[in-house]
Structures are given as structure tokens and as C-alpha cells.
């Protein structure tokens, strides 16, 4: 059984009333946040959910948790239909959630908040988690840094030993050392059979821990694949300095995209065969070279294409970014 399955999940905001515009045009004031999403997350995998701001990641996650009701289609988490509150409550005993906009009652201590959550869902792993992630639980949350608040969030998401954990930008606000601890922790969790579903902007994080990813754009699923193939498609960012003077056309070979001429060299994204690139470069006098991962935006660009599509079939009156990621 899939840990999460989406079946044509669609969410529109707004009442759907028609707005009359000058020139006898009408437009719907609905905002389509996510559109007919269908995919499955397998048990025991780490699944990354990627997309630019406003793509609908948070809307999808909040719909899966029953905070928003789907306009159309549905989703299932641990077998429970998200439209069935009773079934979803039963499933939530085995689900952990770490929201992107994490907020606790500021006047209470971290311990009191954990006690509260524990009184409802249990805390069999609390002590173990507090050794890995160590927010100052005796202090009031008002005094917490973003990182401490995030660690408290991680502890509450995992402390009842859930089978599925849904996380929205889990590492934002964590320092690099804690991020590393967290990634290691996620791999161990997968080893214990926990299913992990999280949204992210950080390619390094996705590459390090995810098995598969879904990429969302404007509320639609544009890619669903293994992390390895995603990265291969993303290519490598190459920046080199050359002693010889060359024009762009002379230098370009197959597999180079996004080529820019620099003062004394070139920068491009390479998606072709590595040996071919090396033999090509061997014919030139290379004085300096950097090869690295492309930023995630470039991988997105690869999927999204260079130009924005013209207005979709679904008319949209307000900018999506503001509503869809709310």
C-alpha cells in the first residue's frame, strides 16, 4: 500500500463567482492552487516535493492533512481518505507533521508544549530525539531562535514514532551542522521503515537524502522521477578560463546549454557525456576550471522551459504566489 496517494487532487481558492471586466470580458476570481495532482509515495521511501514559491507545495501538504478540503479529486494518507475526518484522525496517530510556518504558544516552555502534544499522541521517542536535537526545553518559546524552534518542531513531529512524516521545508532555519544531523537522522528513519515526505528548495538536501522527487509548477506535476535522473538532467555547472580567444560558436559543442561568454572564458550548464566534454576541452588551453552542481533554479528551468506559457485555460485573476503558498 502506498503511504500517500493523490488521485486528481485539485484545490481552488475563492468562491468561483464570475467577475465582469471592462470590455464585456468575464473572469473567474478563483485561484487554482493545485490542479489534478496524481502520484504515489511508497512506504519506506524519502520523497522530495520540489517547486518554486507559489507552486502549490504547501497547499498540497495542507490538503493531505485535512486542513483544506479538496475542490476535486482526493488524496489518501496511510490509507485514509483526506475527506473523511474520522479515518484521517485515526491515521494521524501514525503521522508526524512539521509545518513550514512553525508556531508555538510563546508564553510556554518547550517542555510544556511537548507534554501537550504527548498527552494526545504519545512520546515514546522523546528523550532519544532530544539528544539529537536539543532545543532548550526548559525555556519559554518566546526566547527561542528560529533554529531552536525548528528543532522543537522536529522533536514533536517524530516523538510518537510515526509511520509517515510530512515536512514542509524542514531544514529552513537550521544551522549547517544541525542540517547534517537531520539528514543523517532521515536516512536512519528510512532504515527503520518510516516514510518521509518533504518539500524543499535545497538541491543539496534533495540529492543527499531523497529517493524520488516530484516537481510542481503552477499547481501541476511536471516531473516525477528518481533523484539520480533528475540530477543527470540538471547537468553540471561549468565555468572555465581559457588562454585562447574563441567565439561562442567556435567553442560550443553538443550538451552545452545556457552558454555565457565571460571576459576570459565561458560559463555553461553541461548535460552531455562527460568524456566528450573532457576531450573537447583538451583541445583548448584551459587556465582554470570549476565544475559544480547547478542551482536548483536551473534544474527547474530545465523542466519549466525558458519562456512562461501564455495564460492557461484556467483564467486567474490574482497572482498565484500570494495565495497558493499560503
Amino acid at each position: 500500500m502506498a503511504a500517500i496517494s493523490l488521485d486528481g487532487l485539485t484545490k481552488r481558492y475563492g468562491k468561483g463567482t464570475r467577475v465582469h471586466l471592462p470590455g464585456s470580458r468575464t473572469q473567474s476570481n478563483e485561484v487554482l492552487a493545485i490542479d489534478s495532482l496524481s502520484f504515489e509515495v511508497n512506504e519506506g521511501e524519502i520523497f522530495g516535493f520540489l517547486g518554486p514559491n507559489g507552486a502549490g507545495k504547501t497547499t498540497t501538504i495542507r490538503t493531505l492533512l485535512g486542513l483544506l478540503s479538496p475542490t476535486d479529486g482526493t488524496g489518501r494518507v496511510l490509507g485514509a481518505d483526506v475527506r473523511d475526518e474520522g479515518a484521517l484522525i485515526e491515521a494521524k496517530k501514525r503521522i508526524g507533521y512539521l509545518p513550514a510556518d512553525l508556531a508555538f504558544d510563546e508564553g510556554l516552555t518547550g517542555r510544556r508544549v511537548l507534554d501537550y502534544h504527548a498527552s494526545i499522541k504519545g512520546d515514546s521517542r522523546r528523550e532519544e530525539l532530544l539528544e539529537l536535537f536539543d532545543p532548550p526545553v526548559e525555556r519559554k518559546i518566546r526566547e527561542y531562535s528560529t533554529g531552536n524552534e525548528r528543532m522543537l518542531g522536529i522533536v514533536q513531529a517524530f516523538m510518537h514514532d510515526p509511520d509517515l512524516v510530512i515536512m514542509d521545508e524542514p531544514t529552513s532555519g537550521l544551522d549547517p551542522l544541525k542540517q547534517e544531523v537531520f539528514h543523517e537522522f532521515l536516512r536512519d528513519e528510512r532504515g527503520r521503515g518510516t516514510t518521509l515526505f518533504f518539500s524543499s528548495h535545497v538541491l543539496g538536501e534533495v540529492r543527499q537524502v531523497c529517493d524520488r522527487v516530484a516537481i510542481l509548477r503552477d499547481g501541476r506535476l511536471v516531473a516525477l522521477e528518481d533523484v539520480d535522473s533528475l540530477l543527470n538532467r540538471g547537468g553540471k555547472r561549468v565555468r572555465l578560463r581559457l588562454a585562447d580567444e574563441l567565439s561562442e560558436t567556435e567553442f560550443t559543442t553538443e550538451g552545452m546549454v545556457d552558454l555565457h561568454a565571460l571576459a576570459d572564458g565561458f560559463q555553461f550548464t553541461y548535460t552531455g557525456e562527460y568524456n566528450a566534454l573532457l576531450s573537447h576541452l583538451a583541445g583548448h588551453d584551459v587556465t582554470d576550471i570549476e565544475i559544480g552542481e547547478p542551482p536548483l533554479e536551473d534544474v527547474f528551468m530545465h523542466y519549466y522551459g525558458e519562456s512562461e506559457e501564455p495564460a492557461d485555460a484556467e483564467p486567474v485573476a490574482t497572482p498565484r504566489e500570494e495565495v497558493a503558498d499560503a
Binding site: 483544506l68 510556518d101 508556531a103 494526545i120 499522541k121
Partner: protein, 265 residues
């Protein structure tokens, strides 16, 4: 069970303590003031006769020359009916909206709890300050009255507090509905205060407007009359029942809306 209510009550424990101590001290101050009024060489009730009927009605003024009449006006009409009514409407106005507005509701609802339970227990948590006030203040008033050499019927005093519980909960239920309907907590709180105040005014004015008394039936203040309890010893149990019914209806309206709404959308 009641984990949410307990947590909510604990969150406001300092506020509850401060409110209880503050109101207890205020009541004691009123009690201490009575001997100087009583000893003064003026016919205070004759003066009150000159007040417009609407003012007499609004402040439930029957008499100020007995300790019962004095307490009914100063503590129970003014502090209990008006100030605490407004306070609980205001307080309840934030019960749902502030958690939604500050993104805390996401985490609460990610727990294996139904929305009805969250709403119900949050509302129940109002009982903690209401009970604290109604246990501490009557004791303070009773012994304060004895201390100034007066006496008061313990039964009437107990009843004026007991019957205030449905009244204060009804004010809270008005705030709760607004808290579910409105997405901004401070707007919900302010409207709750304004609404309870307007209902209080309407009830006071309509009571002395012949033919229009029925307008006042919409106000919770119509169903709780501390002056009648303390001065005449008459208990409006029907009024209390009406208030309890209204609380149920309001909570159900809030629940109907809260279980169907998109959180924070």
C-alpha cells in the same frame, strides 16, 4: 480527555490569577466603601428616584441604602454583568482566530483530534477563570460584609454567582462564534466586545420603552438580573435555562462552521 482544555486553561493561568485577585480586591474596596455611604446624612434613595428610568434600569438600581442593593449595583451590575461579560466575549473572540492567524492551528489539527473536540475544549477552558472568580469573590465579599458589621444572605450571594456562570458562558459563546467566523483575532475580539455592549444597551433602553421590551430578549443581560437576586431574593431559573440553550446553539453554530472551513485560507 480534556487535554486541550487543560492546556488552554494553563496558557491563561497567570491572566486568570491576576483577574481573580484584581476583581476580589475591587469588590473588597466597594464593600469597604459602604459604611461611609450608609453613615452619610442624606437620603440616597430619594436622590436615585430622580435618575432617569433608563439609567436606573441599566445599572439595576433598586436601592443603595442596603448592603444588598449597594453590592448589586456596584459589583454585580457593573463588574459582573458589564465588565466580565465584555471580558469573556473578548477573551473567547481569540480562542480559534488567534491560533489560525498565527499558524498554530496547523499543528493542533495535525494531532489526532477532531475539529469539534478542539472547538469544544477551547470553549470549556473558559470555565476555569469563570469558576475561579465565582468561588473566590463570593467568599471575599461574604467575609468583607461581615467585617464591616453588616450581613448578607449566603444563599442569595451564592445564587448571584451561580446564575452568572451561564451568563458569562453565553457572552463567551458569542465571542466563540465570531472567532470561528472571522479570520483576524483582534477584529473578532473587538466585534465581540462591541456586540455584547450594544446588546446590554439595547436591553437597558428597551426595558423602559413601552411596547419594545421584546427587543431586549436578544441580549444575554435580560436573563441574568443580580439586583433581583440580591434585593428581592428571586432567582430567574428560566433565564438561566434560556442562556444554557443559547450557549448550546451558539457552540453548535461555531462547530458547524469550523468543521467545514478551510483553515487559514
Amino acid at each position: 480527555m480534556l487535554d486541550i482544555a487543560r492546556y488552554e486553561a494553563e496558557k491563561r493561568s497567570k491572566g486568570t490569577a491576576a483577574l481573580t485577585v484584581g476583581i476580589a480586591l475591587l469588590s473588597l474596596a466597594f464593600v469597604a466603601f459602604f459604611p461611609s455611604l450608609d453613615g452619610a446624612d442624606v437620603d440616597i434613595d430619594a436622590m436615585l428616584e430622580a435618575y432617569p428610568p433608563a439609567v436606573q434600569e441599566a445599572f439595576g438600581i433598586a436601592t443603595l441604602s442596603t448592603i444588598e442593593g449597594f453590592l448589586a449595583v456596584e459589583i454585580y451590575q457593573f463588574v459582573w454583568l458589564l465588565l466580565l461579560g465584555l471580558y469573556f466575549a473578548y477573551s473567547a473572540g481569540g480562542l480559534i482566530a488567534s491560533d489560525v492567524e498565527r499558524d498554530r492551528m496547523d499543528l493542533i489539527l495535525s494531532l489526532p483530534v477532531s475539529r469539534s473536540r478542539v472547538l469544544g475544549e477551547k470553549f470549556l477552558s473558559l470555565l476555569v477563570p469563570i469558576l475561579a472568580l465565582n468561588i473566590v469573590v463570593p467568599l471575599v465579599v461574604f467575609f468583607g460584609v461581615l467585617a464591616i458589621g453588616q450581613s448578607i444572605s449566603p444563599l442569595d450571594l451564592a445564587m448571584v454567582h451561580l446564575l452568572s456562570i451561564p451568563y458569562l458562558l453565553a457572552c463567551g459563546a458569542i465571542g466563540l462564534v465570531l472567532s470561528v467566523l472571522l479570520s483576524r483575532a483582534d477584529v473578532a475580539k473587538r466585534i465581540a466586545i462591541a456586540l455584547v455592549f450594544v446588546l446590554f444597551l439595547i436591553e437597558s433602553v428597551s426595558a423602559s420603552a413601552e411596547g419594545f421590551e421584546w427587543i431586549g430578549y436578544a441580549s444575554p443581560t435580560y436573563y441574568y438580573d443580580p439586583t433581583a437576586i440580591l434585593v428581592e431574593g428571586s432567582y430567574d431559573l428560566t433565564g438561566a435555562t434560556v442562556l444554557l440553550g443559547a450557549i448550546c446553539v451558539l457552540v453548535l453554530v461555531g462547530r458547524f462552521r469550523f468543521t467545514r472551513t478551510d483553515i487559514g485560507a
